[in-house]
Amino acid sequence: MTPAIVLILGGSVLLAASMVLKGGPQRDVYGQRNAMGLLSIFLLILAGACGFFRELPADLGNGLFRFDDSALASERLALLGGFLLVLISWSTAPKNFLGEYYGCLIIMLGAIPVVGASNDLVSLFLGLELISIPTYIMLGICKNDNPGAEATIKYFLLSAFASSFFLMGLSYLYGVSGSTNLQLIHEALGFEGGKLTMLAIMLVLCGLAFRITAVPFHFYAPDVFEGTSLTMAGAMSYLPKVAGFVAMIRILGPDMSPSAMSAVVPVLLVCAGLTMVIGNFMASAQNNLRRLLAYSSVAHTGYLLLAITALLRDNAEPNVLFSYLAAYAAMTLGFFACLGEIEAAGGRTHLVGDLSGMFYRRPAASIGLTVCLISLIGLPLTAGFWAKFMVFMGASAAGMTDPMSIFMAVLMAFNAVIAAGYYWRVMSKLFEKSDANVPLRVFRPSLFLAYTICVVLTLVWFFVPAVM
């Protein structure tokens, strides 16, 4: 548990420090920026080191937390995303709220391993709320205008709405099984349970569907992405997704009975199909870059849901899911980092058309965007290819016994084509000739570093997918 403790405590210290550090108008903003950034990097490295040198007991036990493979994977994903997000935030974090911003970000990152290791309904819920509450604060401080406020309120209301389903599901689970311990619940119910158990599971999944922006809980995504800062949009497209999917693995457990599967899998499959289709259809009608990214994030949730169903059937290791999330982190956060650099250099990134001719104005960032887009499409030479390929293989292998699953795999292929359409539109804008051809010369090393890492990871993972 050490990495999570390091991060949450460290985040709290940063939060507390922000009260002291608040100075007059002459305060050294850049000094604080660098200090906060370095401190966050230090915390992440410390947490990573703690995780790396920790010795895990052979017996995982049955306490509040369990460190199995998916717990460790969620920790790694949180740290990966954390590094990238801190680098992206370095020059984009709101200057009046540096301490609060970094504190909340670090706490959010610390909460993901908490969710990932949870073996108890209470800790699971705590972990998820530990992600939600900092998100409210960060949304509020990131953009101090009307759309920002609207996004914050909207997210708060809808999140509370979803949490209510989640809590209701948890209370039913407790009521049916008489325990809050997940192992005990799994043993007690064996998921053979009747309709009430299934209903409870469904309600819990509904609550998680909000975190991962699955249909029909996806409505907030475009509004919030548009209303908040780029960095925050990047964080929101990645961190809650990791937490939500890890929680899903936790709740659904490693061994479900066939009867329970016959209830859960169709719902997840339909949800996956709808999420893919709606995400991609809506995205292809978008000219607003932020909203396009929001819908693209919805569409990727659909593919990930398909991966979850494949895992449930095959009882396989959840590697497919985590590989996809890692590839997704590199390509999405890399995309946001590139956009961030263009914005920091004085370019506009509001509409797709704003990127017109960007290659001639900002070549490095444009190449980064191109690689990330190729990965998002899922073409070879990028990690995105293997990510999609593995999900597709998993789904179609499971589909040998179930026509619905194979149908979803085919649907996923169609969706990849639709997605290629709108990603390609963005990419072609980058390279077209346009009237705006003033080079953007402001250089932000942190952002450059962030997307360079993303691009390198995206390319390297294609050749060594085993470490993805």
């Binding site: 809808l158 309709k195 309600l203 409505f219 907030y220 809506m282 292809s284 293989m393 060594v464």
Partner: protein, 651 residues
């Protein structure tokens, strides 16, 4: 330790390729030769170390585990390297010669705007070629087979603004693609057939195509599916003759001379074009079961060797003479391989072919680089009608070219003499066979005839270029000069190779013994040195040179009489093969493409484009619900949750 060396060989050029690619984006491009040459020297050293430290291991073949590239469902891809003496032989040739030519290129390409790009693709080619040679799996070999094809395409079309270069690159790529189709189908068929053999069916498709697996299950395969095996080796052979520019796929190689000359030396003379021979040698256990296919190979090789030599006789372009000569010599290699169709001759055939491959790589690379010097000095003119008597202007090049030409012509005691003699001797031995004896008698005749023609065109080209009255084209300006030492030094090394490699490896049986360590090439019979053949081929070589010398003196106008003029016309126009291809294959295909293109735009696209609009239109509809109002959102959400709840309760 050998493990490390084995991996350095391909990885060093890969690093060089990436570094040069990055450099090509920077303003300062003049340092790109440094990482390239360094990485290639590393690769060359490592491959020599592998030879000296016995990288092939105790059993004669070792597989160096790499890493598991992919494991999804039933698909497992392991990247490993398989090393035996056969592959080490070619590996040394590839890495050493590429290092030499990279050094040569430093000055040859010095003021080219694509300097870094050149070295990047150059290293990329060496990476692909070494991986091709080291592949432990047929499918992996195919991937790098395509990789070398791509690099060749990029280098032929290096000066892509020149229409002829772009056309030549496309031609080379397309002709290779046609042959590669055969290769790919052969691989797929082989994988399918392996799946039918007991014990292999459980493996994944990729693992079935490991060379070791193929070799172990060959006897079972041959007894269960003999017909299938013939098809497989026939298809694989098509891939091999395509890459090695054998008739009827030979048309791409002469045009490939549009690329920079060092590239012609490396890719289109010394290394890539020998990949086909290597494929046949690597799969020799498979080929042994299908002697019929090997005899087809022999006929094709014989035809190619002869017609290419004929075409070389009548070319005025120095590089094209060398290109046709390469095609002709590759035909020799395939003739040698075909001797494997006689029982127990496989190891001898492969050894003879590999021997000539090695020596040919040295002297042909040398000749091309010398031609490059001429081109460099003559202001990119390479037409022998425009210059002559260059021995005073280019004294050192003259000497180096002479060494290469003498080796190619088969002057006794030089490299080419021994290796050509080796092939002729194998053919002679094989002609005693009952079943295929007649074929090898004919091939032996073609071999001698071609050897004679080779000597004729080589000496003719040499005397035309370097002797006679001194003429220098206008394009050269006033500064026609000898090349720099950076260019001459690697050529001198190659010249030493052209002089002594044959004598050092051939008569001493070093190469034969070395290749014999490979489990697939253990020699069965005793090879007889034939003094008769040796003397005959020596006489043929010297006589050919004399005739070539006389021809170079003859005025073109003396050759106007009937039969000779017809042959000359035939040879000049490449036997009208290119013409026939473009008339009878390309033209109908273009017509068909036109028809299909019209159908595509007016029928298919008209329909498909409408479908492509659907997602956008659906999205626009969906935007009505994305109205920004929280109550609307929660309503849809609640309906969704309710639907799920009802479904759960009611099932």
């Amino acid at each position: 330790m050998p493990n490390l060396f084995a991996w350095v060989v391909p990885m060093a050029p890969l690093v060089g390729c990436i570094v040069c690619a990055v450099l090509s984006f920077r303003g300062d491009r003049k340092i790109a030769h440094f990482p390239a040459i360094l990485s290639l020297l590393f690769a060359a050293l490592s491959s020599l170390c592998l030879v000296f430290f016995g990288g092939q291991g105790e059993s004669g073949t070792t597989t160096y585990e790499g890493y598991r590239y992919l494991h999804v469902g039933g698909l497992t891809l392991d990247i490993s390297l398989k090393i035996d003496t056969l592959c080490l032989t070619l590996l040394c040739v590839v890495t050493c010669i590429s290092a030499m030519i990279a050094i040569y290129s430093k000055d040859y390409m010095h003021d080219d705007p694509g300097y870094a790009r050149y070295f990047s693709v150059f290293c990329g080619f060496v990476f692909c070629m070494t991986m091709l040679v080291l592949s432990h799996n047929l499918l992996m070999m195919y991937a790098f087979w395509e990789g070398v094809g791509t690099c060749s395409y990029l280098l032929i079309g290096f000066w892509f603004r020149k229409p002829s270069a772009a056309r030549a690159a496309t031609k080379a790529f397309l002709v290779n693609r046609i042959a590669d189709c055969g290769f790919l189908f052969g691989i797929l068929l082989l994988g399918y057939a392996m799946g039918q053999v007991a014990g292999q069916a459980s493996d994944s498709f990729f693992a079935r195509l490991n060379f070791d697996n193929i070799f172990t299950s060959l006897p079972a395969l041959a007894s269960q599916h003999p017909d299938l095996l013939v098809w497989i080796s026939l298809l694989l052979m098509i891939g091999a003759i395509g890459k090695s520019a054998q008739f009827p796929f030979h048309v791409w190689l002469p045009d490939a001379m549009e690329g920079p000359t060092p590239v012609s030396a490396l890719i289109h003379a010394a290394t890539m074009v020998t990949a086909g021979v290597y494929l046949m040698a690597r799969l020799s256990p498979l080929m042994e079961y299908t002697p019929w296919v090997l005899s087809v190979v022999g006929w094709l090789g014989g035809i190619t060797a002869f017609i290419a030599a004929l075409m070389a006789l009548f070319q005025d372009d120095l590089k094209r003479v060398l290109a046709y000569s390469t095609v002709s010599q590759l035909g020799y290699l395939f003739m040698a391989l075909s001797a494997g169709s006689v029982k127990g001759f496989m190891a001898l055939a492969v050894t003879a072919a590999m021997f000539h491959l090695v020596t040919h790589a040295f002297f042909k690379a040398l000749l091309f680089l010398a031609a490059g010097n001429v081109m460099h000095a003559m202001g990119d003119v390479i037409d022998m009608r425009k210059f002559s008597g260059l021995k005073r202007v280019l004294p050192k090049t003259n000497l180096l070219f002479l060494v290469g030409a003498a080796a190619l012509a088969g002057i006794p005691l030089l490299s080419g003499f021994f290796s050509k003699d080796g092939i002729l001797a194998v053919l002679y031995d094989a002609s005693a066979d009952g079943e295929y004896g007649f074929q090898f008698k004919v091939l032996l005749g073609i071999g001698f005839l071609t050897a004679f023609m080779t000597a004729v065109y080589t000496s003719k080209a040499y005397f035309r270029t370097f002797h006679g009255t001194e003429r220098i084209p206008e394009e050269a300006g006033h500064h026609a000069h000898e090349s720099t030492n950076v260019m001459l030094a690697p050529m001198a090394l190659l010249a030493v190779g052209a002089l002594v490699v044959g004598g050092a490896l051939g008569p001493t049986h070093i190469l034969a013994d070395y290749l014999g360590k490979s489990p697939t090439l253990v020699p069965h019979g005793e090879h007889h040195e034939s003094l008769l053949i040796m003397i005959a081929s020596g006489i043929v070589g010297i006589a050919g040179c004399a005739v070539g010398f006389m021809l170079s003196k003859a005025q073109p106008s003396t050759r106007t009489d009937g039969a000779m003029a017809a042959i000359a016309d035939f040879g000049k126009n490449r036997l009208y093969i290119d013409w026939a291809y473009s008339r009878f294959i390309v033209l109908p295909l273009e017509f068909l493409a036109g028809v299909l293109g019209w159908l595509d735009t007016n029928l298919v696209d008209a329909f498909v484009m409408k479908i492509a609009d659907l997602p956008r239109l659906a999205g626009l509809l969906g935007q009505r619900y994305q109205n920004g109002r929280v109550p609307a959102y929660t309503f849809v959400t609640a309906v969704g949750v309710a639907a799920v709840a009802i479904w759960i309760v009611s099932r």
